[in-house]
Symmetry: C2
Subunit: 204 residues, 2 copies
DNA sequence: GGGATAAACGGACTTTACCCCGCTTACTAT
DNA sequence: ATAGTAAGCGGGGTAAAGTCCGTTTATCCC
């Protein structure tokens, strides 16, 4: 009888003021980040500098890590576009294996460029960075694996493990010291390692 | 002239009372853990229940995560013994590739059994779990890779990536939900995935 | 426009990890 | 034994994350 004005499951979009505040907070956060680094960013500080109440900050982002996840999602937008509809080898219209290699290269570059934010986006008390962060990566890898003829391999598990091999090093394992020596070189090595790993993992 | 009574670099062992307190704190922590779970464990609570000052808790373990790292190190002792001098295929006197597979199986089992502690041992503000945690795993994998004839592969990087593939899923990627369905089945799948991944990654 | 309603807001409050510092106590060398 | 000393201890103090609730305001429908 009545058309569903509030489609259940879709939690109704943010109010205009809320959306405005979110943007303002993200911008302010970026400023503070550039000036003082991620670990110096406090919720109180952010709220004050943005001229908003602390409650607002938490209502928008839920948790401290949530802010960094939002920043990361933001940076990730264009990257996602490239993957979903950009030119080969990253986008469609390329061999799945090539796309997989290209995706790894791009994602490593991305994580490398934003590793401070990405680290801060990890929420200790939470499973995976709840945001778009890794699940998307995993889903994409899973999808590409589906297009490759593997032997008797569990593709869901392989996807999880490859995802971990991809961002584990930067999110968990490599210490600041490991990177301090020569970061760009490390990036190259990780990319080459990924390429070789994927090639080896994906032949029957 | 004077013999080095305090060999520099070796920070002089814990005093007897300190060692006693460390053990008592670990035991108390285990009790509380069993009763209430990891996230319910607070430093004040632990100190009070142990009948010690809060300062002591922090002096022993440095940080909240440090307690869980210590608990994990403790559990890991016997596991390490098996690896270093136990029977094949985990211990020496087995083919390196077999040892690698066996190590992964054992470590997945270990992480699975202690995943709550392992998660809590992650220190958001720190690179890798500073304790013995992962570096040891990585070193062992690196060592085994050194005994395997790989093609033109960077063994240090492969070690990092395999380590990530090994504990990334349990430490970061798999949510409580992913495990809730059927944890033992997930463990089996991860082990098989590891076996197949390693076999594929390690042939020229 | 105008009223109803739920979302959003601010900021005080609570909780908890972590720091600090004055006092105490286990070790060490004579 | 004993004096000297550095490690250890307790617990109050600080800072920052996260919660709550009374008030304000955007949005929807008429």
């Amino acid at each position: 009888m009545d058309g569903p004005l509030l489609p259940l499951g879709v939690p109704r979009a943010e109010r205009a003021d809320a959306a405005r505040n979110r943007l303002h907070l993200l911008a302010t956060a970026r400023e503070m980040l550039a000036e003082d680094g991620a670990d110096r960013l406090t919720m109180d500080g952010l709220a004050e500098r943005a001229g908003l109440g602390k409650g607002t900050v938490f209502r928008r982002f839920g948790t401290r890590a949530g802010i960094f996840q939002a920043l990361l999602d933001d940076e990730e937008q264009q990257f996602q576009q490239q993957v979903l509809s950009g030119p080969p080898p990253l986008g469609p219209d390329a061999d799945a294996l090539d796309r997989l290699v290209a995706y790894g290269r791009a994602r490593i570059g991305f994580l490398f460029a934003h590793r401070d934010i990405a680290r801060a986006a990890l929420d200790g008390s939470q499973a995976v960075p709840a945001g778009t962060e890794t699940p998307l990566s995993r889903m994409h890898i899973r999808m590409l694996l589906g297009q490759i003829r593997l032997g008797a391999v569990d593709p869901d598990i392989l996807a999880v493990q490859l995802t971990a091999a991809l961002d584990g090093p930067l999110l968990l394992h490599l210490s600041a010291d490991d990177l301090a020596v020569d970061a760009p070189r490390m990036e190259t090595r990780l990319v080459q390692g990924w390429q070789s790993l994927v090639h080896r993992a994906c032949r029957p």
